[in-house]
């Protein structure tokens, strides 16, 4: 038994199922056998550390980190929040990788064939480490919605992709967040792979006027929760 408690099992009903037929790409990408549950050993409880990676000061400023002739075009926003575990403890040093479409809904990717145009000053790639209190923030432009092939034409609501590393391999998470009030969320087959309304609500960033920068940018708050350890074992050690 490990000295600290193991991480609680992932609540698979809270996450999307592997097969969600309305999102057509899952049809042939979803395993049919049940997942095999493993006990957590050192390989699952440890994880890569990214705090030593070289960060550029502009890594978390997508308005400027790809700019050559001017700043990125679009609605200027700050996105900020906390990274916590399920025990509401901050997760410092979490690596968050960010990618998104531009204000017109076009990705800077060789495989994106959407007719909308690229912004020469926007790459759509960023990253940030959470601080000692588990807080993170980045600046960007609000991405536009875009169409994608899915049983005809589906439309994605505005969203930003996040890839997150906590401290343990079991905490690895890739997700997307949406923007409060966007009417496309309810129609999106990908957002709605999350079926629990409370779970879907937790993927929607809230307008946060307290963090707006006057005459510069609006702000949205998105809090991230990674898996936490079962506290029972080590809490009894303190008695």
């Amino acid at each position: 038994m490990s000295e600290l408690g193991d991480f609680r099992p992932r609540d698979r009903a809270w996450h999307p199922a592997a097969s969600t037929p309305a999102y057509r790409s899952t049809t042939f990408h979803s395993p049919r056998h049940p997942l095999l549950t493993l006990p957590q050993s050192i390989g699952e409880l440890s994880g890569p550390v990214f705090g030593d990676s070289a960060f550029d000061p502009l890594d978390n400023d997508l308005i400027r980190n790809y700019a050559t002739t001017g700043e990125a075009i679009g609605e200027r926003i700050t996105v900020h929040g906390t990274v916590q575990d399920e025990n509401a403890r901050p997760v410092p040093g979490a690596l968050i990788e960010i990618w998104q479409a531009n204000a017109g809904g076009k990705y800077r990717h060789v495989n994106d064939k959407y007719m909308a145009v690229l912004d020469p000053n926007f790459g759509g790639c960023g990253r940030v480490l959470s601080d000692a209190q588990g807080r993170y923030s980045f600046r960007t432009i609000r991405p536009g919605p875009y169409p994608f092939p899915n049983d005809g034409c589906g439309w994605r609501p505005s969203h930003i992709h996040l890839s997150i590393f906590g401290h343990a391999f079991v905490q690895r998470l890739v997700t997307q967040f949406y923007f409060e009030g966007d009417p496309l969320i309810g129609q999106c087959v990908i957002a709605n792979t999350v079926t629990d309304p409370a779970a879907l609500a937790s993927l929607i960033a809230k307008l946060d006027m307290s963090a707006m920068q006057a005459f510069d940018s609006l702000a949205y708050r998105f809090d991230i929760v990674l898996r936490g350890r079962d506290a029972t074992y080590f809490e009894t050690q303190g008695l």
Binding site: R8, T26, F28, S30, P39, S41, G47, E86, H161, T175
Partner: protein, 193 residues
């Protein structure tokens, strides 16, 4: 439990922008080769791993991102000489992914038994709502594989075989082939932990 984990969403077809930006076509500085894990001071046997991801219709998945996590040659994770983490994409044309790393040592299972040398593998792609987690074992470690507590959990030999990278008879760096099947007759064993 005070909080619920943030739900997963698919990494989508453009995962490369945030994770392997040069592949997406972004202008970047000297980008690190994330699929090369070993450097000059790393101890251990250099190996190359190649494979592809097959979907349930037999089509290669050419827009996936794969991450690996492994111990060093002594069976330790996160040592100074070897980070043990790597990332690759399946090639947009050929569907192949490649890693250059070292063969890991044996690590301990939670109950103290020895595990066979293995690499943890995570798969992120369009149509995968929450990343798939599997393990890569080595065909030339038959004795250790037979005693491995995880492989022993799998009753059907055909399913155990989905986790074993096959050593290819080829000159040069030892080459292991590891094909991942998301669905179908040869569906890979995927784990929850």
């Amino acid at each position: 439990m005070a909080l619920k984990e943030t739900p997963s969403q698919t990494a989508g077809p453009f995962v490369h922008i945030g994770t392997l930006p040069a592949l997406a076509g972004l202008k970047t500085g000297a980008a690190p080769q994330l699929n090369v894990l070993a450097h000059d001071s790393t101890l251990g046997e250099r190996i190359r791993i190649e494979g592809a991801i097959h979907d349930g219709a037999g089509v290669l998945v050419k827009d996936a991102m794969i991450e690996i996590w492994q111990a060093n040659a002594n069976g330790q994770y996160g040592s100074n000489d070897f980070k043990g983490w790597g990332r690759a994409a399946t090639d947009f044309e050929t569907g192949l992914f490649v890693f250059e790393t070292i063969k890991p040592g044996r690590t301990l299972f939670h109950d103290g038994r020895k595990q066979a040398p293995h690499i943890s593998v995570s798969i992120f792609a369009r149509g995968i709502n929450i990343h798939l987690q599997t393990r890569l074992y080595f065909s030339d470690e038959a004795e250790a594989n037979t005693a491995d507590p995880i492989l022993q959990l799998i009753r059907e030999p055909d399913r155990v075989a989905t986790l074993i990278a096959r050593k290819e008879p080829k000159a040069g760096l030892p080459l292991y082939r590891f094909d991942i099947h998301l669905q179908g007759d040869r569906e890979t064993v995927f784990f929850d932990f």
